[in-house]
Symmetry: C2
Amino acid sequence: MYKKIDKNDIDFLIKVCGKEEVIVGEDISEDFSHDELGGVEKYPEVLVYANSTEQVSEIMKYSYEKNIPVTPRGQGTGLVGAAVAINGGIMLNLSKMNKILELDEENLTLTVEPGVLLMTIGQYVQEKDLFYPPDPGEKSATIAGNINTNAGGMRAVKYGVTRDYVRGLEVVLPTGEIINVGGKVVKNSSGYSIKDLIVGSEGTLGIVTKAILKLLPLPKKDISLLVPFPNLTQAIETVPKIIKSKSIPTAIEFMERDVILAAEEFLGKKFPDNTSDAYLLLKFDGNSKEEIEKEYENVAHLCLDNDAYDVFISDTQERNESIWSARGAFLEAIKASTTEIDECDVVVPRDKVAEFIRYTHDLQKELNVRIKSFGHAGDGNLHVYTLRDEMDAETWELKLKQSFDCMYKKSRELRGQVSGEHGIGYAKKEYLHESQNEPYMNLIKNIKVAFDPKNILNPGKIY
Amino acid sequence: MYKKIDKNDIDFLIKVCGKEEVIVGEDISEDFSHDELGGVEKYPEVLVYANSTEQVSEIMKYSYEKNIPVTPRGQGTGLVGAAVAINGGIMLNLSKMNKILELDEENLTLTVEPGVLLMTIGQYVQEKDLFYPPDPGEKSATIAGNINTNAGGMRAVKYGVTRDYVRGLEVVLPTGEIINVGGKVVKNSSGYSIKDLIVGSEGTLGIVTKAILKLLPLPKKDISLLVPFPNLTQAIETVPKIIKSKSIPTAIEFMERDVILAAEEFLGKKFPDNTSDAYLLLKFDGNSKEEIEKEYENVAHLCLDNDAYDVFISDTQERNESIWSARGAFLEAIKASTTEIDECDVVVPRDKVAEFIRYTHDLQKELNVRIKSFGHAGDGNLHVYTLRDEMDAETWELKLKQSFDCMYKKSRELRGQVSGEHGIGYAKKEYLHESQNEPYMNLIKNIKVAFDPKNILNPGKIY
């Protein structure tokens, strides 16, 4: 159905981008055959590095005319196979478009190219006493990757998700046409919000070639609380009470003892405490120590009233970093503790988190498979991992399917959604389909057709 | 092109909704031939009150099959003709679906029917010590009207706009099919954000029949500052400095002396001060007097350093209400001061507000027409009114067109957008078209077709 890449196509790409930016056949590194998810592997026919919006536009125009599939790619840190060229064709790598274009201190906006890394943005704005709040664990992702999955991260409780910090986008459409949506303006009710449709569309509707991000003034101080509880249910059931208490934490994470132990082993460093079964980890930020103290004292008492064993307060930069770097290493630690993993990134209403996690505990025993989890208790977004350990390929496929079928079914019962922040991509399509009715899935298809009638941009993803 | 309503259609509507809910011909009140905008007038052929999602669905299925245009209607408080039945057909009035369905105190959500009034929501949640932040001036609008225009209001500086508080929607599609988007979950990356496409779509993509809103804990205290400046430029140029100062006000409004005088006359009440040419009006909220004091003292000094004459602090409920009710009456006061008005609701980057307002001052003189404005200095959303006064119809049409052409052109130059919060509707289509390129407008059209291939739902609006 799609045109295969031939010499004329390669010549065209070299003409547009230069010889050194076009990589073909066996010269393509194995890295580009997959993302961070195991099991979905496919090489593109050609890998091209774009260096400007015009190059992206020319490549899309050509591909649209010739019917060649194009898979946009950033750092390949995704977890659902969204940046894998499952139909071959062109992989369009945007990671070299990585310049910070403008800091506008009057409007508090930062204009960036798509390949700028999240960690680069964080450092750059912090030096100017400014703040880009979205804080996913994977700091080496590109900003366009974050935009395309509507990445959430740990500060979502107080500050919201990536969508809330995207003010404007420059987008190359599948036809190669260029549009600008939004801008530096704070409000906008001027026609359908195409910006919000592009955010979270996993590179299937258009290619983000520039983004205008909203910044905030940098809070002057932060303090973290590590709160041990007798069990996970008691820990998690405290969360809605915290949210209602008028003290709004920046982050509320939950973690269980075995994940902490795995992180200690992985990092070769001790966590401040590992003696309890379950923990909440909270962060508070603000502009003065007194302001934050009032907030966290309130919450500390609330935790103790709800059977917390203790409240460890961490108010030095050093201790904070050690706690949060351990939290940031959970995924890698779980990965390192087994042979292969796959992830269920459901989001459920905040008051259903405990029920869902209890369900996964029972499921481990029922299916005789290890299931580990941690996540964002404050916003109901869970990261639940099924571990392969020593299973053979066939058993693994079966157990993985069984565990995922059960977990997504449970999430639907609890009125949750398939993905809180990692997207649908290639790997979670089946579960999106099961979670929505036919009119809904038809709309998804119709919207895709509205942008990409020939289905050449990142085909086979989402629907 | 569209089918005209006949006796069979009326009989069908009576069968679905009951005789008393179906109003035909001369029994339709003049109110339903227009919204709050003058100049766009047309009666529907039949007015129907729906009382359930199922009724809405049945009417849409029938209309889709028969090719009858349907205009959804709430309280008709819009300012761009979006709820006027410009093609006749059925006006589907949702104002009787006005029940609050559920307050979920664990997840801090409120589930409501579309016809609940904004003021009802505000009062209801306040009694439970909770807070629905969006705060447009028109409190008698329905929540579905607010959702369909992505209404902003005065608290957008700190709290964002309606979009940020819509967690989930039940929507009847033009075909009569029913979908649910989002839910009580806080994060969501599960396919294209259809929820965000419906928000701000002015009733052209689907009919909102239920909404799940996000609530916050109610801040315990608020304080307002009224700050007189020598002139508007100095007032407005202080705003970006306030935003950067780490003290985040809930609201930053600007106003000029002549608008204050008009409001005093309209309300028959004195404003705390009317001796200066220009004012900023700020609000701060928080959970303690000390916390707020620290914030506002900082900002008060900043204003005085930037040539403010004085800072009037209002910390009693009574004084706050008198100031903000005067602010809330500006639109009515301007209306009462002339024969007819039309409004330009542009939003420009925050640092361009002063330039835009200076431009409208010059334009008054150039065109010899009165132009009055006030608005949200904190988010760049301006409400600028051209006044008819004693002009004859022909002169008014000409002057209005001239002034609007100039103002929208100026807004485009400043990289603003056509509408900050009132939408495009019927009246501003031309200016949306001028502000966007052809690929963008094609997308708008394609998205409409994706939802409504027969173009029967609120046709002739937005594009």
